[in-house]
């Protein structure tokens, strides 16, 4: 919190139920979860993160027992762009501004993270260092919140000016989507390109629609459902490997920051890095969402599979509690 105000990221009015899963490509578990949730009927599938490969969902169909109905959000958003060029131009201009903002934030963030890392490595009076480190982490949190506020400002400005939800072409698609989701027993959201996915979930304002159904989401799909979408990689071939906030998520699974492919993308054996992530995003639970991991939410409380690890404030990984029965 900053200055006693409420957090600036999404506080969704809707609450969802369902399960967030680790990557599915090499270890499919979504079928087991469907069975465990006793889902009947069709499953509304969102594969917009696959972008132009959205419709190539044969493997997903097989995993979902050939009962998926692909919502085709990527294709629908292309159609919106074609049918409503004014909205398309305004949307692209907004995305350009957001990209510029992200670059500016990234520059400030690098300095703030370096300050914290220097303090983590400092030698001397621990009490003094800890106090400075706490302040340095708080500075990062303030920066993250400021970034979220600025994004929200740009998004609000765009919504006020363009009122996308009131535009006939968007409304028509949303009605069709509502009909499919309404008759589905569950919603499955696959991973992929997180911006492509989140942008389309927002364009059709799907949060209230999917909140009423059990949701199974993995990788980028899981990221989009939490409060904050954090982009991360500790060892990229270019750049410094500093996790950055992309924007607010849909907030349907609150109190979490998820890190898909954590074993591959994060240096989990480096306590300083783990502690910095946990401290920066706490009190939200920072969850390593690797293959076969899961976090379940019943609308009130979270629980996790035994293999699902939490990035803890002391830099260690611990099994996330409570465990799912």
């Amino acid at each position: 919190m900053v200055g006693g105000k409420a957090p600036l990221y999404t506080q969704s009015r809707s609450k969802a139920t369902g399960v967030l899963l680790g990557p599915q490509r090499l270890a499919v578990t979504v079928n087991e979860e469907l069975e465990a949730l006793a889902i009947k009927g069709e499953v509304a599938a969102i594969t917009a993160g696959w972008q132009e490969r959205e419709a190539e969902d044969e493997e997903l169909q097989a995993a979902l027992g050939n009962r998926a109905v692909n919502l085709m959000l990527h294709a629908r958003s292309d159609a919106v762009g074609r049918d409503d060029p004014e909205l398309f131009v305004a949307h692209r201009a907004k995305q350009d501004r957001l990209r510029q903002l992200q670059a500016l934030y990234r520059g400030r963030l690098a300095h703030a993270i370096m300050a914290a890392r220097e303090l983590q490595a400092a030698a001397g009076d621990r009490a003094l260092i800890e106090s400075e480190l706490e302040a340095a982490i708080e500075a990062i949190r303030v920066l993250d919140d400021q970034h979220l506020a600025r994004i929200k400002g740009i998004e609000d400005e765009y919504d006020d000016a363009m009122r996308p939800q009131d535009r006939p072409v968007v409304q028509a698609h949303r009605e069709a989507l509502a009909e499919i989701i309404g008759r589905a027993g569950a919603v499955a959201i696959a991973g992929g390109h997180v911006v492509s996915l989140l942008t389309r979930l927002r364009l059709f304002d799907l949060a209230p629609l999917i909140a009423g159904r059990p949701i199974l989401a993995w990788s980028a799909g899981a990221m989009c459902l939490t409060d904050r979408v954090v982009l991360f990689h500790d060892s990229p071939p270019q750049g410094q490997g500093i996790a950055e906030i992309l924007e607010a998520g849909l907030g349907l699974f609150p109190g979490l920051v998820v890190f898909p492919h954590a074993r591959r993308r994060l240096r989990l054996s480096d306590p300083a890095r783990v502690a910095l992530l946990a401290g920066r995003f706490g009190p939200a639970a920072c969850v390593a969402l690797d293959e076969r991991c899961k976090v379940t939410y019943d609308g009130h409380r979270l629980c996790a599979a035994a293999n699902t690890m939490l990035l803890d404030f002391d830099g260690l990984l611990r099994p996330m509690e409570p465990r799912c029965p």
């Binding site: 990557p23 991973g191 071939p237």
Partner: protein, 378 residues
């Protein structure tokens, strides 16, 4: 620091059994901190280490341990060095170059294979070996019947995994394509780097020269072949981004010269260049001393240094510090910077060889064609 070989020298009795135990206990060459111990066993007259490290005496003699048939040589190698070598064994009045029989680590090139010593801190990049999780791309073979050369030319095309005609891709044109495939495991490397999202999915045109020392030495026919034969063929057949920033020329050694010379002759066509250990020989005064094969290269580089223009937009240059060409490549850096092109320069403690060029591919390609690493979570 007491080295294992010194302990062996102090052991008593220092006999064949002691040598057997020493060899069984260690792998060779034996790396102990900055020291690397090479050994050879055999009843021969002399053993020398032959290597291609510019700046290090190229004929290092082994010592024989008295009363045994064990020969050894200790060298101090800087951290992260990678040294290719052979042993020159003198026996019966003759000498022959052989690979180190105790070292299974080999590097292959068009002339055969060398033994390789990895100094402390060097690790073969993990993205070099086939990753079972990586979706494989595919290779297609073509023959361009009518070319600027006047004869048919083979062209190999790499398509990334999950290639779609509905999508557009950047194009990488590789000189010495067959050698890159064989000696740098280029296909595996591309599969891995694209799978890891570090490099954008791209299409690669791999060319195969007939006489590289002629064609790659600023030959206008070669430049025409690339720009007027290869490029139109690729653009007609594959969905490529129609922009210079999505086209890259790449090559090593003379292939680096060919890449730069082609871009120089056709500025604005290739917005990306990857120049590995380019043979950028030049003269400030006097004659070329590298031999006739370099005459046209020197003329080109001298002309380029005089008027570089702005042949591309973004250039990655790399060179091994153990190469004789390190001076020439370092000299290119400030020159390229003056052109306004964006430049990245990387050195490694390695020689003029394919594994050096392989090891630079991650940094180079992820900078020239960055993948969606930060955005995609599958």
């Amino acid at each position: 620091m007491s080295l294992a070989i010194h302990k062996l020298l102090r052991s008593a009795p220092l006999d064949d059994a002691a040598v057997d135990r020493f060899i069984k206990r260690h792998s060779f060459p034996l790396v102990e901190g900055p020291h690397t111990t090479f050994i050879f066993r055999g009843d021969v007259e002399a053993v020398h280490l032959r290597h291609w490290v510019f700046g290090l005496g190229s004929n290092q003699a082994f010592k024989r341990i008295a009363g045994t048939d064990l020969w050894f040589l200790v060298l101090e190698l800087p951290p992260r060095s990678r040294v290719e070598y052979k042993l020159e064994v003198h026996s019966g009045g003759h000498s022959r170059w052989v690979r180190d029989p105790l070292n299974p680590n080999l590097a292959h090139d068009p002339f055969g294979a060398n033994s390789v010593a990895h100094a402390h801190g060097y690790e073969t990049p993990e993205w070099v070996a086939a990753d079972p999780e990586a979706r494989p791309g595919s290779l297609e073979e073509f023959t361009l019947e009518k070319t600027a050369f006047g004869d048919p030319r083979r062209l190999t095309v790499y398509l990334p995994a999950r290639f779609r005609v509905t999508r557009r891709y950047p194009l990488l044109v590789v000189h010495d394509g067959g050698d890159y495939l064989r000696f740098t495991a280029l296909k595996t490397v591309l599969d891995n780097l694209i799978h890891r999202l570090e490099v954008a999915p791209l299409i690669v045109a791999l060319t195969h020269p007939h006489d590289r020392l002629v064609e790659y030495a600023n030959d206008p026919t070669h430049a025409d072949f690339i720009v007027k034969d290869v490029l139109p063929f690729m653009e007609q057949r594959y969905p490529l981004f129609p922009a210079a920033s999505a086209r890259c020329l790449m090559g090593a050694s003379f292939g680096g010269v060919a890449s730069l010379a082609t871009a120089w002759r056709y500025p604005g066509v290739f917005g990306r260049l990857l120049l590995q250990s380019g043979s950028f020989a030049f003269t400030d005064i006097g004659e070329n001393r590298r031999g006739p094969a370099f005459d046209r290269v020197v003329s080109f580089v001298n002309a380029f240094r005089e008027a570089p223009g702005r042949p591309s937009e973004r250039v990655f240059v790399s060179c091994g510090t153990y190469e004789s060409l390190i001076y020439e490549n370092r000299s290119m850096v400030p020159l390229l910077q003056t052109t306004g092109m964006e430049l990245r320069y990387e050195e490694a403690r390695d020689g003029h060889n394919w594994e050096n060029w392989r090891d630079r591919l991650q940094t180079a390609l992820s900078w020239l064609f960055p993948g969606p690493l930060w955005m995609v979570y599958e």
